[in-house]
Symmetry: C2
Subunit: 340 residues, 2 copies
């Protein structure tokens, strides 16, 4: 898929020029404002696979050949920055894409509370930019309103999903809760929303949008499920992430919820005692991994990932779509198992 | 102004039904989601003068008689909730309108960090609601896009203003900085934005919008300046706020910046030592108040408030506007001196 790289570079270069324009517009008002926009720019551009803008672009490309959608697709990446900056605060993360999170960047100069305040503001500022992108695009007012409707739909669901992720203890959640969490927090935001925006702006017929949404739901859930399995069983050299961070933060995953449903009473107590413990030893982590495997939860989740991917692909395999878009979506579905 | 109360009640009742619909839509998903929406609803409805929706409504009423604008005006009150919830976190405030702030509400059940996370999410959720209100209104797509353009304009400026308010030390700011801060943080958000949205949705002619904006800028700055003077010199029984909180938090006000410009070197050092000190004594506060008065800064700010109000009123006094709207705006200009 040679042209993916071309689109990704285009997205990056447009993001850069949008953010630089914001900086220029406000230059000279206050060094603190400059600095906020500069930090936000660096954070947004420092890496990232641009999955959401690319999905938006290729959903559009399933129906239309022009490039009007590229401008709009940036809004999905600015949404990503906004949500990640606030997530970093909530998760007390020090690093994002290998570099300091926004609140950590500010801690070089300010106390932790002021740094956290600056990070809240950087996220809030970025959230206002999402709409600017759509307002400035070349679509008609009616089409812009449709796009904004889905932006608002994504944000509402993602924030409610994040609420379910942050507040309850992992012990409280059932498998049904986890599926809802995956739907709200990941599927909507990573796949369904971008695909709605791309296909609706391409004026796609309703029945094809419905099929694309079936694809998006299944692949979106598979994406999160794979990420959760990979987070603990992945090769840390490949993933670039420590494999004990989910355990330390007591992450709510289907893997754990399913294990708790299937394992023995003693094993359950062991997980209750250790999952979500900051100082979990590598020995205890290995024990948990063994419990997960022995319970059948690991196999269950692996199987689910494959089923969801196949189900997602079958939703669009037999419908007529422009080849460029269809190829991307089908290859993307398989590719998520290589993502980390 | 008998009908102000009628509009205020209408705004309150529509806000209540909008938020209740959000609660109903999500009922049964998770008790944590219920709770977040319930807290946001209670926080939004627990009081407040509804100045921003009312200003939007009466700016529209300067040109048109119908009530289509009322729905849209709610977006300004949801914006207020969003920004206040995040401000409360940054200011570490325990109380808002006499009751616990959102993060304080959560502290009854969760640790401070989780409570702060919930408050960030409540603000973020509320921010997505701003757009829903406009999308659901009865205006055309083109008009909705105009309204959203100004929503985005207000938010960008307000957040940059808040950045100037939160990060620098009061010692660093010049009078010019303070005026910019007042413009970004208050005038745009409290007066200019609401008046843009009301008058543009009423299809007002450009030259009248320009005059209304002159009004809005001057009254908006006067509003903040009066609030700052009142914050330290106001009668605490009337204002309902302690008169040492600005001093304790080292608030950036024209009063202080002007005093530092005019007072003696010894007085300046006294202010540097005490403004922004959590444990400032009432004796030291009285000394600061005396320095402010003796320097001429108190009189300067009082005079500015009156000048700005007169200037604001004169911008609209001689232009033709519907009486209902014009009367409100003129009375509002005088009324701000009674606000606290």
């Amino acid at each position: 898929m040679e042209n993916i790289e071309t689109y990704r570079e285009k997205v990056n270069s447009l993001l850069k020029s949008f953010l630089n324009k914001k900086l220029e517009k406000n230059r000279g008002v206050s060094p603190y404002i400059n600095n906020l926009i500069e930090n936000l720019t660096e954070y947004t551009l420092r890496g990232g696979k641009r999955i959401r803008p690319l999905t938006t672009i290729f959903a559009y490309k399933c129906f239309k050949d022009d490039n009007k959608i590229i401008d709009v697709s940036l809004s999905l990446e600015l949404m990503q920055s906004y949500l990640l900056i606030h997530d970093d605060i909530m998760d007390k993360s020090n690093l994002r894409r290998g570099l300091p999170t926004i609140h950590k960047l500010y801690e070089k100069e300010f106390n932790p509370h002021l740094s956290l305040s600056a990070a809240i503001l950087a996220g809030d500022l970025c959230s206002s930019y999402i709409y600017d992108i759509i307002l400035e695009s070349k679509f008609s007012p009616k089409e812009k309103i449709e796009a904004i409707k889905y932006i608002s739909w994504i944000l509402e669901r993602e924030i409610l999903g994040q609420t379910m992720d942050v507040l309850p203890n992992f012990k409280e959640l059932t498998e049904k809760d986890i599926w809802k969490l995956y739907e709200l927090k990941t599927a909507t935001y990573t796949m369904q929303g971008p695909i709605y925006i791309g296909s609706i702006l391409a004026n796609a017929p309703e029945e094809k949008i419905k099929k694309l949404q079936e694809y998006a739901y299944n692949i979106g859930i598979a994406f999160q499920l794979h990420d959760d399995v990979n987070g603990i069983f992945g090769n840390t050299k490949e993933t670039g992430k420590p494999n004990d961070s989910d355990a330390k933060e007591g992450k709510k995953t289907l893997l754990i919820t399913k294990t708790l449903e299937l394992c023995s009473k003693e094993e359950k107590e062991f997980i209750f005692k250790n999952w979500g413990t900051k100082e979990i030893s590598s020995k205890d982590l290995e024990t948990i991994k063994k419990i997960i495997k022995n319970s059948g939860a690991f196999e269950y989740c692996q199987k689910k990932v494959n089923e969801l991917i196949e189900k997602g692909k079958s939703s669009i395999k037999n419908i007529e779509l422009r080849q460029e878009g269809k190829t991307y979506l089908l290859e993307m579905a398989d590719y998520i198992k290589n993502l980390y």
